[in-house]
């Protein structure tokens, strides 16, 4: 792991009382390799290293702590900060774990729009989110799921099936009854329905799309305009590589994201994409998916993610 490699690299610095440009270079190369192998975007890595280099050179050697340990802590702390966390507050502290993920919203329904590449896990995440939202501590909230993916075969059926599993209503338009239907129509009509029936939340599932697909990116922008979501969440497969930075930038410039959900974190991917997403959009990762079942959604903790990326 990087931590072990760094311990080894730094053991050669044991006798030193000062970290210099020369002796830090091999260590920085080691950190660069590890972060790239963890799928952190190359530009994000190089920015991070510039900041680490500066911190390391200004580091005062602390009594009883080896320079290696200090350096590792500096890298870890920087990762936590870049992921939107506070290195001094760990996820085991209740004020961190109990902090609400979504800001309070006064208008009803609070709308959440899901977006992302094909196969990222949007439909599953939509249902997982609904399950969380409706079992709110302050009393059962009513959530409306919106099946606005009218393109993928059986996408609507998939959301309807998931909705049944958690006893949640799904808004869908039947193409056979009303003729060909657009995603924009479904989303707009769903909002009217949600307002009319007094739903607390409305979560809109959309079709996966590529960022170079102009018409589909425009469609997404129109959907956002029509439903004015309080939250726009980018759903990203944790196995994603360097492209995480580019697709985050493209979605962010197109519709402005307020958060992200990193799925399939139950695998062994290091998840460096988390760093790219936060760096490029400024939006925090709010949840991670840790399995296919609908109770497999966890709150995102920067410190746990930092440890995972560092390996």
């Amino acid at each position: 792991s990087l931590t072990e490699n760094l311990q080894r690299t730094f053991s050669t610095l044991r006798g030193l009382d000062k970290i210099t440009e020369a002796n830090i270079e091999p260590t920085l190369i080691e950190v660069r390799r590890a972060l790239l192998e963890a799928d952190v975007n190359v530009q994000v890595v190089d920015n991070l290293l510039a900041s680490i280099r500066e911190q390391a050179l200004n580091m005062k050697v602390v009594q009883g702590v080896t320079p290696g340990q200090q350096f590792i802590k500096a890298v870890y702390d920087e990762l936590v900060r870049l992921l939107g966390g506070d290195p001094e507050a760990s996820s085991s502290q209740p004020e961190v774990s109990k902090a609400p993920v979504f800001a309070e919203v006064t208008t009803k329904p609070m709308v959440i729009l899901m977006a992302g590449l094909q196969g990222a896990g949007k439909t599953t995440a939509t249902a997982k989110l609904a399950r969380l939202l409706q079992t709110d501590k302050r009393g059962r909230k009513r959530v409306l799921l919106v099946a606005a993916d009218v393109q993928r075969p059986a996408a609507v059926e998939q959301l309807i099936t998931l909705g049944k599993q958690i006893n949640t209503e799904v808004f869908a338009l039947n193409a056979e009854k009303s003729g060909p239907v657009t995603a924009l129509e479904v989303a707009s009509k769903a909002l009217d329905y949600a307002k009319q029936k007094g739903f607390d939340f409305m979560v809109v599932d959309t079709a996966g799309r590529q960022v170079i697909d102009e018409p589909l990116m425009q469609e997404l922008a129109m959907i956002k305009k029509a439903v004015s979501p309080a939250e726009t969440l980018l759903v990203v497969d944790a196995m994603i590589g360097q492209e995480a930075a580019n697709i985050t930038r493209a979605f962010h410039e197109n519709i402005g994201i307020t958060g992200a959900i990193l799925t399939k974190m139950d695998g062994d991917t290091r998840g460096g994409a988390a760093l790219s997403i936060k760096q490029v959009s400024g939006a925090p990762i709010k949840f991670i998916g840790v399995g296919e079942k609908l109770d497999k959604l966890e709150k995102f903790y920067p410190d746990r993610m930092a440890s995972r990326i560092l390996g």
Partner: protein, 293 residues
């Protein structure tokens, strides 16, 4: 003289970042840049254009050689397996891989191609008994592709028995090819990987021969974890080829170089979109061009 060196060094730095940004991985890139430095010195390359051309040529030759050797390896394995068991009663394509990467869509595309281009009698098998509306999704694709489909019986949850029933039907009704779509799974889930090993055994016992292809489906945006996944799949289920999907997007899928060269898994097909026609054979030249863009 300094200006010329600067231009070459600048080109090397840019190339390194392009290759890293394309998910080739730091180990592969280090080796490529090392070889490139040697070529620059030996051939006395002077310009950025020459440096880039030299790298493109080495990368292409590395990949085509690795692809050829991988195809030979897989072919030899199939021949030796058939020597042991005899050739299978019908051809079977098994699609496996990570959740959401494109197995179901690729199964449909393959069925469509085999029916329309190769004039085969194709049976699609919906062996994903877990995911919501997975069977409905493949059934709709079967309808669009004009092929028959075997679906699970009501309450039939065991994927291996769905495959078993489908293969009985395939031999009884004389289908040429059976394409089995399976549920997505992470290579780290031991129970699900065991289930897949068992599925393959049941299939091969039923057709009395090796599956024709065990295709691992991985999508282009995947990072270095795709190599880890492929390695585990190879170890557990012996995949015979890769289907690389979503190459119509912005991702360049540099992990493919490692999968072909280090693991010896050849790329069989490429997915370039969401319709039945969006299936291509692997073209190393086009792939390398895409990497270096």
């Amino acid at each position: 003289n300094m200006g010329r060196l600067d231009q070459v060094d600048q080109a090397m730095k840019e190339i390194e970042n392009v290759l890293l940004g394309a998910d080739l991985g730091v180990g592969v890139v280090d080796r490529l840049i090392q070889d490139l430095r040697r070529d620059v010195a030996q051939k006395r390359l002077r310009s950025g254009v020459q440096v880039r051309a030299s790298l493109a040529a080495s990368l292409l030759s590395l990949l085509t050689q690795a692809q050829t050797e991988a195809e030979k390896r897989v072919q030899a394995e199939r021949i030796s397996a058939e020597r042991m068991s005899g050739s299978p009663a019908c051809e079977v394509l098994l699609l496996v891989g990570t959740n959401g990467h494109g197995k179901t869509t690729s199964a449909a595309k393959l069925a469509y191609r085999l029916r329309t281009q190769d004039k085969k009698k194709v049976l699609l098998v919906a062996a994903d008994t877990f995911r919501a509306a997975a069977v409905e999704q493949l059934a709709e694709w079967a309808r669009r592709a004009g092929v028959d489909i075997a679906v699970p019986l009501e309450n039939q949850k065991n994927a291996a028995s769905v495959a078993f029933d489908a293969l009985k039907r395939a031999t009884d009704e004389r289908y040429d090819v059976v394409i089995i779509d399976t549920s997505g799974r992470l290579h780290t889930n031991e129970n699900l990987m065991d289930e897949m090993k068992k599925l393959r055994r049941v299939v091969e016992r039923q057709v009395q021969g090796p599956v024709t292809e065990c295709l691992l489906v991985l999508d282009a945006p995947s990072g270095r974890n795709a190599v880890t996944a492929a390695r585990q799949w190879l170890k557990d289920v012996q995949v015979s080829g890769l289907v690389l999907t979503k190459l119509d997007g912005t991702a360049r899928a540099g992990f493919v170089v490692s999968v072909v060269q280090e693991l010896g898994i050849p790329v069989k097909f490429v997915g370039v979109g969401e319709t039945l026609n969006d299936l291509r054979d692997f073209d190393p030249v086009a792939y390398i061009d895409g990497l270096l863009l």
